[in-house]
Every structure is written in C-alpha cells, then in structure tokens.
Symmetry: C2
Subunit: 246 residues, 2 copies
Amino acid sequence: MSDRRRTPLYIEVIDPQHCTPEVRRQILTEVSFFSDLKPAELEAVDRRARSVGFTAGDWVYREGEPASQLFVIATGVVKTTRLSAEGMHTTTGLLGPGDFCGVLPALGFDAYQESAQALSGACLLAFGIADFNWVLGRYPSVSRAALSAVSLRLAATQDALFRIGGTVEQRTASVLLELADKLGVRRRTGVLVQTPLSREDLADLVGARTETVSRLLSRWRRQGLVETGRRWVAVVDPDALAEFAV
Amino acid sequence: MSDRRRTPLYIEVIDPQHCTPEVRRQILTEVSFFSDLKPAELEAVDRRARSVGFTAGDWVYREGEPASQLFVIATGVVKTTRLSAEGMHTTTGLLGPGDFCGVLPALGFDAYQESAQALSGACLLAFGIADFNWVLGRYPSVSRAALSAVSLRLAATQDALFRIGGTVEQRTASVLLELADKLGVRRRTGVLVQTPLSREDLADLVGARTETVSRLLSRWRRQGLVETGRRWVAVVDPDALAEFAV
DNA sequence: CGCGGGCTTGAACGGTGTCAATCGCCGTGG
DNA sequence: CCACGGCGATTGACACCGTTCAAGCCCGCG
C-alpha cells in the first residue's frame, strides 16, 4: 500500500506561454469543425485566435454572462455546469483537448447557458464572436462541421439524460470509464485519472451526493475495482466496471 | 361531474391532404432556420419537401434506422424517445408545429439517434437528405440558423437533464404545463390536453412509473388542480401547478 | 351485458438523501 | 522537523420518495 501514500497526480503548472504556436496548430487540426481546412486556411484561422491560460479551479466563463467567445481546449480539462434551483451545480459535460465550449452551444442566446471551469491547469484558444463569424462566413465547410459537432454534443447530453434512469452505481461506473478514457494515464496498477477530482466533483458528475459516491467507491476499493485517495481516482478493473455501466 | 362521463377529446382523423399548400408555406416561415429566407426562396425550399400524414401512435422513424430525412412538424405533436436497457422508453423531447426532428440532430451519425412518434394526428414536411443538403449549400443563412436551432435543442435537453434532479412532482407539473401550452384547448373548466394520453405515456414523459403518476394525479384531482379520465388530462389550475414546477 | 384494458389504491421494500460524528491526509507555521 | 489545523473522506443511523408487487375498480367497447 506504500504506493498511494501521497497524491500520484502530476501537478503541472500551466502558464499561458506554454501554449506554443506548434501546440496551437496541432490542436486546431484536432477540432472536428476545422478538419476540412487546408493548412494555409488553418493558419488564417489560427491568427484569429488568442490563447488563454487557466489554473485548476479557474472559471473560464459563468452562466449568464454575455456570450462573447468561443473556446477550444488546447490542453487540460474543463467541465461545464449549470446551476439548478439552490446553487446546486449539475455537470453537463467534461471537455478535453480538441473539444469546444462557449458561444457555439449558446447560439441563439446572448448569454452563456452554462459555466465552464478548469479542472486542471488548462490552455484554451479563444475566438471573439466576430472572428468566429468571419471564419463561418469564409469557410462554409466549417458551418456544416460545426453543425455535426453540436449535434454530437446534443447526442451526448441525451445519453446523459436517459442514463439518469439508472442507479448511481451505473452512472458512476460510466463516468469513471469516461474519465479514464478521456484523461487517464497508465500506471503499474490500472489507469489513473490525471486531474484533481474530489468526491464532490465526482458526485456532481454523476448527479448524486458525495456520501453516496464515497460509500460506493469504498466498496469498489475493497473489491479491487478502483484505487482512490484524497482528490484522485484510478480505475483498476475497467471490465468489471463496464459490467455495471449498463 | 357529469362533465367527464366520456372522453372529451376530439378524435380528429388527419389525412395527409389536410396539409394544404397554404399550411405548408405558413409553417416553413415558422421554422427558425428558414426565417431569413425571402418568399421566393421559401418557395424553392417548399418544392423540395413532401408532406406526410400520421395518426396518433404512428412512428415517424425509429432509433437505429438509417437516417435519411429531416422532418418539420406542420400540425400535431410528436414526441422523441430513446430506448434504454430494457425496452424502457425515455422521452427526450416534445415537438410542436415549426419544430424539427430527424437527421439534423443526428448529423455526424448515419442512423437516427432517437425514435419519433406522433402523439396526436400530425402532418410533417419531409426533406430527403440530398434535398436538405442542397438547401444548406444554396442558402448559407440556413446553416447558421440551423446551428442556432440545434443549440436551442441542446439547451432544452440540458434543461431536462437538470430538472431530473427534482422530484416526480416537479417534473410532472412542468410536463403538464408544457403539454397544456403546446396542445391545450380551453374548456369551461381549465385547459384540456388535446391528445390521447395514458398514465403510462405521462409516466414516460416525466421519467416515472404509472402508479406514481396515478397517485399524484389523484391527489391533484382531489385538490382541484387537474381533471383526469381514461387517456386524457386537463389542467384546471395552472398557477398552482407552476408553484410545483421549480 | 360482460369482458378487457386502463386506472386506482394499498403495503412493503430499497436506494438515496440527510444529518452528524470521526478519521486521516496534507499544507502551514513554529 | 514536528505539531497543528483544516478540509476532504469515511461511516453510521434514519427518513423519505419512488418503485415493486398485488388486488380490485370502472369506463367503454363489442
């Protein structure tokens, strides 16, 4: 057990400069709705963006603020949340490199429909609304691709919606597997979710209380399915979890 | 009480012809993503569509079928559902005149991501995928507008998602009010939801069991908030319901 | 008039939320 | 380097909402 005496996470300090021109270019090619652009066009797009750095816990924007920017995640992880009745956060998405957030899902509104918060240190590319419209007008393929991208997001949200029909156990298993897939790194035993993640964060993600999630993880830990610690989780037996995940 | 001896619903028989050219034209102007088009352009769009009639209970398309058409609802109400683990339906949306469904929310997939079923008699306009792509290519404004439209749908789905956090009472109140708004007709007492709607249908809509919904409606009926019968519901006191609806 | 499907109601069970107490890791300051 | 303080995690007890299983009822149709 000496393995997990201390946090096994890499605590990287991301500074804005860390988003080098090479990284920016690379990321842009991974964004689905720029995928049809030629290198020269990508370069033109790149010039319209500026990069912004965030440290874990920073808010990228908040629900209700005037929507003015489209963000593309270059490095790090960002979660989007919505406030329900009593300051209660509900997580609506978990975004990694190549994913987007901001005005695009909020088209047709003049304010952001959700808040976005950096889970880890992160570097984002930001497009002003005018700049992005310029891109949309100039490269029609981007419009179509953006349409698919938002549709994918829609499908993912519908997935989440009908998963709620299931138990906390099922949802937690799904979320853990998704986390391991999106930002897991292999360790000697299992896959570590490479981002600080408290029980409360996890609870928000699955739509449950921290106590419930804690109990569940304790059981799974005893059964050898996961390893956990203060603000971190690792998936040891993905297959067993997949059994639960509907 | 002699009021509700028998079904108070109009059992209209919608025939496809009922979707007259005038209705079609009118509806197209109400579809958000055609709103920027000039009359002549709308006409061109109209010629690409064909109208299809459905009676209550008919499936417009089913989850998993190859996605080939975009539908715009001209008259009537359509619900979209997804199958979960055990044949369990989860309703993901409730669509009225001017709303759309079909390939658009499924862009980036080659099969429908959901099933669509007519709740009442309904007339839909159908665009083949090639026809709609033609429209997208010819009128760039449609692409942008479609982007907003899908975004709106996304927001609505996220709404539904975080409403689930609440109780069955809250969700049922919301759904009843939405139903009354979308397809209610005024009666001497209250607003009748003009479509055959069993307790089971309602239960699917709110994500609960028929027994639970039945109990709830019984209570509300005793309190004078609603009137109900075999396969129908009427909202008597919308304000009181709104109190519950978060 | 009788049957059947939909509706209602009852009772028991179980998963989760809630409240509350305790433990233990980790960063801080002496 | 060690003691301390605080926050996050854990665990228990309990209440409650909603499901589940099981009867029985009633409307509306043949």
